[in-house]
């Protein structure tokens, strides 16, 4: 039950609604679960709701860490 896609927040509207963009497609979603989100940030969207704010930088950290481990393979 987990299909979610990263979407860029392009506008914050009333009533917990935000307009998001996924590669040029736009839709309105509910941001009750991520009230502190700002325009320009990416959120994970599932069933019309933002679940979490996405932090790409930590993905790179994991990759770097694992690459180090791989050096010792």
């Amino acid at each position: 039950m987990c299909l979610g896609v990263p979407a860029k927040v392009i506008d914050l509207m009333e009533n917990d609604v935000a307009r998001v963009d996924v590669n040029g497609n736009q839709t309105e979603i509910n941001i009750r679960l991520t009230p502190e989100v700002e325009v320009g940030q990416y959120v994970l969207v599932h069933a019309g709701f933002a679940m979490e704010i996405i932090d790409e930088s930590v993905a790179l950290e994991t990759m770097q860490l694992l690459e180090e481990m791989l050096q010792y393979e």
């Binding site: 039950m1 987990c2 069933a47």
Partner: protein, 359 residues
Amino acid sequence: MSDIKDYQQHLLHAIQAETAAVALMEVCGTHTMAIARSGIRELLPPHIKLLSGPGCPVCVTSQGDIDAVILMVQQKDIILVTFGDMMRVPGTSSSLQEERSKGADVRVAYSPLDALRIARENAAQEVVFLGIGFETTTPAIGITIEQAQAEGLKNFSVFSLHKVVPPVLELIFSDPEIQVDGLICPGHVSAIIGAAPYEILARKYHKPCVITGFETIDILEGIFMLLKQYDQAEARVEIQYRRVVKPEGNPIARQIIDRVFQAVPARWRGLGIIPASGLELREQYASMDARVKFHIPEMEEVPIKGCACGEVLTGKITPPECALFGRACTPLQPIGPCMVSQEGSCAAYYRYTPAKGRG
């Protein structure tokens, strides 16, 4: 920093080089699909097994529950709004798709909020949303219910088939017949529940748990991290999917689930009744509970002869080891829930595994 493709190949080779015989289980239908689509299984050595557990909320919905929804659709004058996943799931003698072809007003929606809109636009008709899913999806339905109540909508209700994941993990780990050495934890469920529920399990059963995302690269990293822990005889909870999952999860989402729902015993198809694993609307939302509103009875569970879904769902056997797999039971003519849902273990296996891997 090497190219992503190189990195993926590097991870894959490292995994292929592991010599320990290990069985890793995922408990998320979306992981089942992602693993099948990526073809990872074909590239892993035979001693590294990827098991598919009871992570498909559609698959684990009991036949009785589906029959109850179909009964409601047949007998009551309602508009049923549902996620697309539920349309083809067969009950004992029908499905929502079939009921629609017979004239029932069944509509597919992407979000429970669509059902609210339909309720507003059709004030004279009863609108029921079929709530299904684990903790990833339940907060959305919770918010929808609260919004409906705030608006004073009288013609909207939810038929809850929601379940929670931790109790079934307890069941799997505590079953001496099930051999699982590590858990690929569901990425989006974990975004809600955080790491704490797995900490308890990891300590109690001494199994490593890695909260994993859904891209091919995520799955490779997750498997690699589990194998590394296994090598060191460790049993920690790690988060591979750090870009989305925080250790504390999403407290707001959990509060909403807790406010609107309460845990009740629930029947999981093929597994029986698991305590505190289902979610029912709380007393103060009874007017939004479709089961209560329309007096829908509990329906009998009719066992399917020869169906080994229960064993497949707990990873005791792989899909090809079921006698019906690929013969009497195929995606076009599914017998049990594992084959019915698009991301059910058997369906994913059948659809994606080249002919040589089939039963």
